[in-house]
């Protein structure tokens, strides 16, 4: 009894979510057919669903997804591998921090995408260009949030560590890092958002690689349903990424 009602509890939000999406599609379909929304801007949802088969069969969608996912994975791992240590260094060295933190914040705000010709010259039209640009685009939030998180560690926790005579390395691993982790994760979430947008955006821009290029191709062919279908796959990949991040986060943080 209890377990079946529990299962029901879990199923309800899922059913509700799915029916909301389907409902929205139905409403959109009706509006489009009534001519309230322009068919040349938004395709019929039913056409998009039909187009899925075509882009899966003809456009090698899974190969492209793999390519895009590869660039995303490499970039997402790189921003963490680079960002957290850089943020930690900035925490540690005050003079370095006051020298560069403003620049990093400025970097977060700058439209780095516009610098793509420079990277094309350096790395050619290759996945490396996509990865390097995406890493640079996504790096700033994670650096800033890491520094911010470490600076925000309550002094009394550091004093507990000092009174227990922790070494610098122990202090970092056992107190500073775990205390700053929630803030660092909010940085990772921001950075990953930037990275995912950047990967697809640059693929689109330089017409190279996976889903971004496909969207570019399809839109140039005025294949509107196909374009929207491909965008659906981008969303799918992004959702997968954030599901993974959430898993990692709950695994590292037993409770909030």
């Amino acid at each position: 009894m209890a377990s079946s009602s529990l299962a029901q509890h879990r199923a309800i939000p899922i059913i509700l979510g799915a029916s909301t999406i389907i409902g929205a599609f139905v409403v959109l379909e009706v509006l489009l057919r009534m001519g309230v929304v322009n068919k040349y801007v938004v395709p019929l949802p039913s056409q998009v669903v039909m187009a899925l088969e075509r882009i899966i069969v003809e456009e090698n969608i899974f190969g492209r997804m793999r390519e895009t996912a590869y660039e995303m994975v490499v970039s997402c791992v790189m921003v963490i591998v680079l960002g957290v240590p850089i943020g930690s260094l900035l925490y540690r060295w005050r003079s370095l921090r006051s020298a560069v933190l403003d620049w990093i914040a400025a970097m977060a705000a700058a439209p780095l995408v516009l610098a793509f010709p420079l990277f094309l010259v350096m790395f050619g039209r290759s996945p490396t260009t996509v990865i390097v640009m995406s890493v640079i685009t996504g790096l700033a939030p994670i650096i800033i949030k890491t520094t911010e998180g470490l600076l925000g560690v309550r002094p009394v926790l550091i004093n507990v560590g000092r009174s227990l005579k922790l070494t610098d390395a122990q202090m970092f691993r056992m107190i500073l890092l775990p205390a700053a982790l929630p803030t660092i994760f909010s940085g990772i979430r921001l950075s990953w958002t930037f990275v995912l947008i950047s990967v697809v955006g640059i693929e689109f821009l330089i017409n190279l690689g996976g889903l971004g290029q496909l969207i570019n191709d399809l839109s140039e062919r005025y294949d509107l349903p196909g374009t929207y279908g491909a965008i659906g796959f981008v969303i799918l990949v992004s959702v997968a990424f954030f599901m993974i991040l959430e898993r990692v986060e709950t695994w590292l943080r037993p409770a909030k």
Binding site: R154, V156, L157, N159, V160, R162, S163, L164, K165, L166, Q170, M174, I175, P178, A179, L181, R253, P254, A255, K256
Partner: protein, 284 residues
Amino acid sequence: MTLATSAASDAASGVQPQLVIDRVTKQFGEGPGSVLAIDDMSFNVMPGEFVSVIGPSGCGKSTLFNIIGGLLDEYAGDVLIERERIAGPHKAVGMVFQEESTFPWRNVIDNVAFPLELLGVNKSERLDLAHHFIDLVGLKGFEKLMPSALSGGMRQRVSIARTLVSKPQILLMDEPFAALDEQTRLLLGDKITQIQQDLNQTTLLITHNLTEAVQLSDRIVVMTYRPGKVKRIVDIKLPRPRTSDVVSSDAFGHYVAEIWSDLREEATRGMVDSESAQRGGSRG
């Protein structure tokens, strides 16, 4: 063993004090904005002795605590443990902080076992000891909870257990019972005195609670309001073993009244000072 008869040592028994506080002065900052937090304080604590330091808010109690704990290494005068001047945390000292200091990313038992982890104690022994001290502070059954699921007073008891678990020779506690209700405070006081007696632990308790100080201490150091100086040192000659029942005795009442008359003077000064600072207004 040489019977060094410094003015400070307990000449009668020839026992060396475990903790010497000698002309300690601490000023924060330089020039006009500076605060003289502690001014020329001296007193000793004998091995196994329970000494309370009592004084009004802002008189420099936590500052003294941080100096003895080796967390404020720039100070004038000397704090000596085993004849060594304190200039960093000493391994014999365990500290319970005034602010909430549990690790929010560790559950209760892992919080309490933390110091043992550092000492490399094996897991089963670590958990046994941690269980023992969790039980002692009255948190049995809460081992697996995260601090965020506990009340403020419960969290404070977790930090007390975390410090007790490594059985420090010198125990420093900065208002450890401040977040507790009166009943828990009295009962926990009993437990702490019991451990302190069992382990013959030298204990320095910082407090602004009179009852607590008289209930637990062998001696009470009364501090003046800013700058913190020693106003008076009172011997509490109530019999041991002592439990919280002592609070209803006549002698207890006398001590409380006596210390209160000293303390009232200082507390009043403190109040007047902060009121005039408020009226002076534009500073804060």
